[in-house]
Amino acid sequence: MKVRVWSGLYLFVLAGWSGVAAETPDPPELLERGEYMVYAAGCISCHAGEEGESEHLEGGRVFETPFGTFHAPNITPHREHGIGNWTEAQFRRALRQGVAPDGRRYFPVFPYTAYTRMRDDDIRAMWAYLSSRPAVARPSRAHGGAWYLQLPLAMRLWRLLHFSPGPWQDEPDRPAQWNRGAYLAEALGHCGECHTPRGLMGNLRADRKYVGTAQGPDGESVPNITPHPEDGIGKWDQDDLAYFLESGMTPEGDFTGGIMSEVIDNGQRHLTAADREAIATYVLSLPPLADAESLGALDESRVGRVMLPRAYAESQPSGPSYPADR
């Protein structure tokens, strides 16, 4: 096994002490909190089977993106196919830094750019919970990322431009409920991964936060959830949005379908009412933004089609890919 050892602690753990945690079961409260974090972080929709329908997190969802095809990996504690050989520190580094145990950088299809904001105690609880789950022997599939993602340093360059690591810092002038909602939406729920349009490098456009996009997952459009009165959800109140996150019902009595329905069933529905209200408070406090159409839209079909002609790109072998570079 090839693992970059970067501290004495790692040496100690790798020398065969990784089994210790399994012998002293984690207290039930920690596991309960970990399960809650798995719901809050929306792990299930991507990691539970191809349709997000498995009982376990053995991976499988396929992401067709302008940057290639990606496959959600197995995150059950299986020692060969899952994360059963990881340490808690390696798990924390994966979420916090987007770096795999062997030192490779993850593609940002794994929303570590959000999870980096998670707090240590929440990561610890999540790790304890995931470690307590049954191991599933399903091999993770290799990603088929675009050729230019295989270039040495590609991910490092991307990270330099678009990744600012570090846990969530509460904004002191905002009420506790707002900060809780912001933490849940930004560090865990990663709403922006679908609701914020992307720039040419697939980065989330901070200036267009939550404004929606015509080029969402599965080729479906994703609605504007800023409090813009016409284009967004400015006519919803906090209770409307909190109830939507519980039931999928809009104030008009329509029901959401598609991926949002999964996001609710696999996550939001399981949160406390107080947490859903906190998310609603935060989202409705954001700046209202008009849809792109009214401003002259960025041609989102160009995202990912950068730098070199397609014919050349397609002639390149796709090569090994998961994760990105060395």
Partner: protein, 154 residues
């Protein structure tokens, strides 16, 4: 990119050439069928969102529950017939799966109808907890069907 002619389209074109308009009952224009079903589905939404206010205790009009539930159950019985072959043209949020996976669609529509009927039964029982549960089941059924058969709004 070449656009493949869908089987449904072929069927509709054939029908148009032979027996005239086919959507809904014999003479209905498919755009009118779409318009009609959107209005009918909006009325379902209006009833359901009104019931949500009552079920969640925001208002105390518990005596109104039955009217709303009966309304939803009545229209739920018509859902299958509101999506006839050929009504996939025009401005519709219906996914092609409505016609391509017809058996699944009809099963989902039947389940919604059953969930709405069960809500009427629960309302008649007067048991608050049962009403809450039945309402939740109906909501899940609406959402489940939209997940597979309705496109998201922009």
């Amino acid at each position: 990119m070449m656009r493949r002619i869908k089987p449904v389209t072929t069927a509709v074109l054939t029908a148009l050439l032979t027996v005239g308009p086919v959507a809904g009952t014999a003479a209905d224009d498919s755009e009118d069928v779409i318009k009609y079903r959107q209005k009918a589905m909006s009325s379902q939404g209006a009833h359901v969102s009104a019931m949500a206010q009552i079920v969640r205790g925001k208002v105390s009009y518990t005596g109104h529950m039955r009217s709303h539930a009966v309304g939803v159950a009545g229209v739920a019985a018509h859902v299958k017939s509101m999506f006839p072959e050929g009504s996939d043209f025009g401005v519709t949020d219906a996914k092609m799966a409505v016609w391509e996976n017809r058996a699944d669609f009809e099963k989902a529509a039947d389940e919604s109808k059953e969930a709405a009927d069960a809500l009427v039964v629960a309302v008649d029982s007067g048991d608050g907890a049962a009403i809450g549960e039945a309402f939740k089941t109906l909501s899940q059924s609406c959402k489940g069907c939209h997940e597979d058969f309705k496109k998201e709004d922009d």
